[in-house]
Symmetry: C2
Amino acid sequence: MQPEQAFGEVLRELRLQRGLSQEQLALEAGLQRNYVSLLERGHNSASIKTLFKLSTVLGVSVSAMIRSVEQKTAASSRRSQGI
Amino acid sequence: MQPEQAFGEVLRELRLQRGLSQEQLALEAGLQRNYVSLLERGHNSASIKTLFKLSTVLGVSVSAMIRSVEQKTAASSRRSQGI
DNA sequence: ATGTAGACTCATGTCGACA
DNA sequence: ATGTCGACATGAGTCTACA
């Protein structure tokens, strides 16, 4: 799995866990609503600045978000290699 | 301290610890040499894709790099507040 | 509430060259 | 080996609108 796809999944999971809509998340993070949509579907790869904005609203550290992303990509990598 | 400045410091520290030149790091990461220079001096804020490229060459996880960045920014924040 | 589209601005990132 | 410059291409992110 590509990192931007994994990041999108992590972002959506965290957002739903907090009961936020894309609109609410975007508003509080100072981003566009449709841009959050792009990120969640892995169509755009966020910059480090955007990561910090989103993580603040989601109440989680950027490193924790990235750790989840790494776990997803690593798991997918193992799966593709049949391990 | 701004996150991009903190990231630049972390990047330079990791690179020097491994005895790499900016040229070698850039070549192995598939980036431009002068762009690594910009990142280390905090003039540009890397995207998540670039983070993954660099961390692979440096042999460290992205989340570990970001954790160092967070520690630097948090330490500087405490310092500016006199805590 | 979400996905998609176009048009747009500006930052990211490339490339070649020079101190 | 690094910093800097200019020109350039691409991608991030905005804004408005429609399904």
